[in-house]
């Protein structure tokens, strides 16, 4: 995951900052943060973009809120065909039959961003095979393991933020 994103260039006027609120990590601008200091922590539900959360065991897990940032800086991408969009958005892995395009030199077990053919980011996951290996895969074989998709905004509305 580490080299999936580059650090965004900082804008001088309003430097972005990361804020830990309960177990969630938020990305926001400094002025917003300064204003939001007047909101008590128990009452603060969310602020700016939610990048992900720390699990109970202390691991950091990227959430769907980070898709914006990921999609912008992703090096490896997978495009799914229109008939594969909905299965992916319902939380399934991407199978070979639904694969539209894939970045040329994707290695195995590499974090990838999943997009629709119209270049709309739909989620992200981990490649199951390298680009070369996907060629000889049968149509039902998995190409990308699902990690997060925009369908979670509806499915996991209660636990997401």
């Amino acid at each position: 995951m580490n080299y999936l994103i580059k650090i965004p260039g900082q804008e001088p006027r309003s430097p972005p900052l990361l804020r830990l609120q309960k177990d969630k990590v938020f990305l926001l601008n400094t002025p917003i943060n300064n204003l939001a200091t007047s909101i008590a922590r128990p009452n603060l539900i969310s602020i700016g973009q939610c990048l992900g959360k720390f699990t109970k065991s202390g691991k950091f897990k990227l959430g769907i809120g980070s898709l914006d940032v990921l999609a912008r800086w992703a090096r490896f991408k997978v495009w799914v065909k229109p008939n594969g969009e909905l299965p992916f958005l319902y939380g399934n892995h991407v199978v070979k039959a639904h694969l539209g395009r894939i970045t040329e030199d994707t290695p195995e077990h590499q974090g990838v961003v999943v997009l629709s053919m119209a270049d709309v980011p739909l989620g992200f996951g981990v490649s199951a095979r390298s680009t070369v290996d996907t060629r000889k895969l049968d149509p039902t074989g998995l190409v990308v393991f699902h990690q997060a998709d925009v369908g979670e905004y509806l499915r996991d509305e209660d636990s997401l933020f």
Binding site: I39, L44, G48, C50, L86, L89
Partner: protein
């Protein structure tokens, strides 16, 4: 043709005040015309159908057509018009063109719609609605095709103009409306019918209905009759009956037919004229069209429309007043679960909830508060208007509703939003100094009955009292949260999805009285009905006409109320008051002179200094009561 006709039917229309009367009247008129030419059978058919007939959302065909026609293939129109005419019910067809001339000649006063209203099937009805308007907009073309048409066009153009004017006049005074209803009801048979048939039920009848349950058809017929009677009371009333008798029976019938509590039926009925209130209740029975708002943070409306059309959704822009709204007519996929929806390209949102945000008109780099924001439609619209700059505080008192609020905010990619969960009344304490505050107050929901039918029965008088009390507290909090010295803003928008007066004008009026540094300003919405300045014996602030009301039967959207308040710096108001005080002092000075004359004349003595002190003390107390910090006592 099918798709087009559906669109015609559900298009929300720019401001046409109380159009509902116009169409109702003409319907009846057109029916009369049909009677003249066709046999009695057709009349029976009509009448049998009438109670079941869905009320058309009131709309002026002339306005309809113009924006529609631009998009449609113009060359189809003429052929379509004639085609649809042949689709009409057989027995009514004869009246289509010829009778129209007769009518025009005989009473030019009455507003005339073409007889499209005669047709009851869904498709034909709406298609016909466009038929006449086609003639208006594309006159050149029509004249090529049909020789007889041009004259008719001119007439109908005149007619539609007349219709518009009349609609305006009508909004101005109810008198004209009465007269018109009178004209429409002059048909002798009908009049006789009313007189013979319409007898108010006796006490026993009422009891029987209460125990056995009333026949819906009978009740509906009775509602229609009473409305007609109330339309011209002196002519139609029974000798020994007062207006109150009819009104009481009408309210009772409305309550039983539409399923409201008598209390709520009475409350809503009292806001409109009888026939308009029926239009209102009817409109509450039909669902409003599904609409979406394109999220300008992620896409453009045109791209979104194209993407959705590719998925088999048929849609069209809502109207000229919004650049981001789309109306969905039918869809082969669930609109709330398309990849575009999940990717945050649009939000399912009713057109009425665009309005407060448009009135608020947030600018970039401002600090904005949305006091009761769930589920986030308005919040995200504000964020989109501000292009993700500045900061939006989205508050909702209900912590569980903030879940869906923040999910929506994140889905739509709003990065400048702080979601918090406070009671709105705590607000200036938590954080103040906002440039703009939107208060979409929690309300009884009498404007969204079509969405949530439970409002009809579960709201009692006490609920209304509690709600308006809460709203009054909230609006003061909203006003106090404003940074009065803001260079760009200083505005509060108060809106509710309720149409009752005490939740709307009553609350705004209260705020104006309580906070002298607040004044009503124009909402910036070019349509909607003006707010009441006085109703039912209540008098409101003279500027209350600047607020806007929206009704389901007039605008084809949820019932809604929007008002915009400008909060001025207190110093300005203080200066004004000081000025006033000075003037008062001058006045008293004159008075004192008079008194001095008296003093010389009589024994009574006046102590000027003591009086002055007393007066100042009183003035200070008054100012305090109004909520102004009293100015320092000025000593001479």
């Amino acid at each position: 043709m099918g798709r087009k006709s559906k669109q015609k039917q559900q298009d929300p229309v720019p401001h046409q005040p109380r159009q509902a009367h116009g169409t109702r009247v003409t319907k009846r008129k057109a029916k009369d015309a049909a009677l003249d030419t066709s046999n009695k059978k057709s009349k029976q058919v009509n009448q049998a159908k009438q109670p079941r007939k869905p009320k058309q959302p009131s709309s002026s065909p002339s306005i309809h057509s113009e924006d529609e026609q631009d998009e449609q293939d113009a060359s189809d129109d003429a052929s379509e018009a004639s085609e649809s005419a042949s689709d009409n019910l057989q027995d009514l067809q004869g009246s289509d063109d010829d009778d129209e001339f007769d009518l025009d000649a005989s009473d030019a006063d009455a507003p005339q719609n073409p007889p499209q209203q005669l047709v009851f099937s869904d498709q034909d009805d709406s298609e016909d609605g466009s038929q006449d308007s086609d003639a208006d907009s594309d006159s050149d073309e029509q004249s090529d095709v049909q020789g007889a048409e041009p004259r008719r066009e001119k007439l109908s153009a005149k007619k539609s103009k007349k219709l518009d004017q009349e609609a305006l006049l009508e909004a101005a005074d109810a008198e004209a409306e009465m007269i018109r209803t009178n004209i429409a009801g002059l048909e002798p048979n009908e009049m006789g019918e009313v007189d013979d048939d319409m007898v108010l039920p006796t006490q026993e009848d009422k009891e029987r209905e209460a125990t056995e349950g009333a026949d819906a058809q009978t009740v509906y017929g009775r509602i229609g009759d009473i409305v007609r009677i109330l339309g011209d009371f002196h002519r139609f009333k029974a000798a020994n009956r007062s207006r109150a008798d009819y009104t009481d029976q009408l309210v009772a019938d409305i309550a039983s037919y539409y399923g409201y509590t008598p209390f709520l039926a009475e409350k809503l009925f009292s806001m409109f004229s009888p026939d308009e209130s029926i239009a209102f209740f009817d409109a509450n029975e039909t669902p409003r069209p599904v609409t979406i708002r394109a999220n300008t943070l992620k896409t453009r409306r045109r791209d979104l429309a194209q993407a959705l059309i590719n998925r088999g959704v048929s849609l069209e822009p809502i109207g000229k007043w919004t650049k981001v709204g789309l109306q969905i007519f039918d869809s082969s996929v669930p609109v709330g679960a398309t990849p575009e929806y999940l990717a945050g390209h649009y939000m399912l949102q009713s057109p009425s909830s665009f309005l407060p945000v448009m009135a608020l008109d947030p600018k970039t780099n401002e600090r904005v508060l949305d006091m009761a924001s769930a589920p986030g439609g308005k919040t995200s619209y504000m964020s989109a208007l501000m292009q993700n700059t500045g900061v939006v505080f989205a508050n909702d008192a209900n912590a569980s509703r903030t879940k869906s609020l923040s999910a929506n905010v994140h889905r739509l990619g709003c990065k400048n939003v702080v979601v918090c969960s406070y009671d709105g009344r705590q607000f200036p304490k938590v954080i103040g100094g906002f440039d703009r505050v939107l208060l979409d107050a929690p309300c009884s929901g009498t404007g969204v009955v079509s969405k949530d039918q439970s409002v009809k029965v579960n709201k009692t008088e006490r609920d209304f009292a509690l709600l308006s009390h809460l709203q009054k507290q909230l609006i003061l909090c909203a006003i106090d949260s404003i940074n009065t010295k803001s260079s760009t803003g200083g505005y509060v928008v108060y809106s509710t999805c309720s149409v009752t007066v005490e939740e709307d004008e009553g609350v705004v009026d209260y705020a104006l009285k309580k906070r002298p540094n607040v004044k009503l300003v124009h909402t910036g919405l070019e349509f909607g009905v003006e707010g009441f300045t006085n109703i039912g014996g209540k008098k409101f602030h003279k500027d209350m006409h600047l607020t806007r009301r929206f009704y389901p039967h007039v605008h084809n959207m949820e019932g809604f109320f929007v008002s915009k308040l400008h909060v001025l710096p207190r110093a300005v108001v203080k200066n004004k008051l000081a000025q006033q005080e000075k003037n008062d002092a001058d006045d008293t000075g004159v008075l004192v002179d008079d008194d001095e004359d008296e003093k010389e004349a009589g024994d009574v003595t006046f102590n000027d200094d003591e009086d002055k002190q007393l007066m100042q003390k009183n003035q200070r107390r008054q100012q305090k009561a109004k909520g102004i910090k009293p100015s320092k006592p000025t000593t001479k």
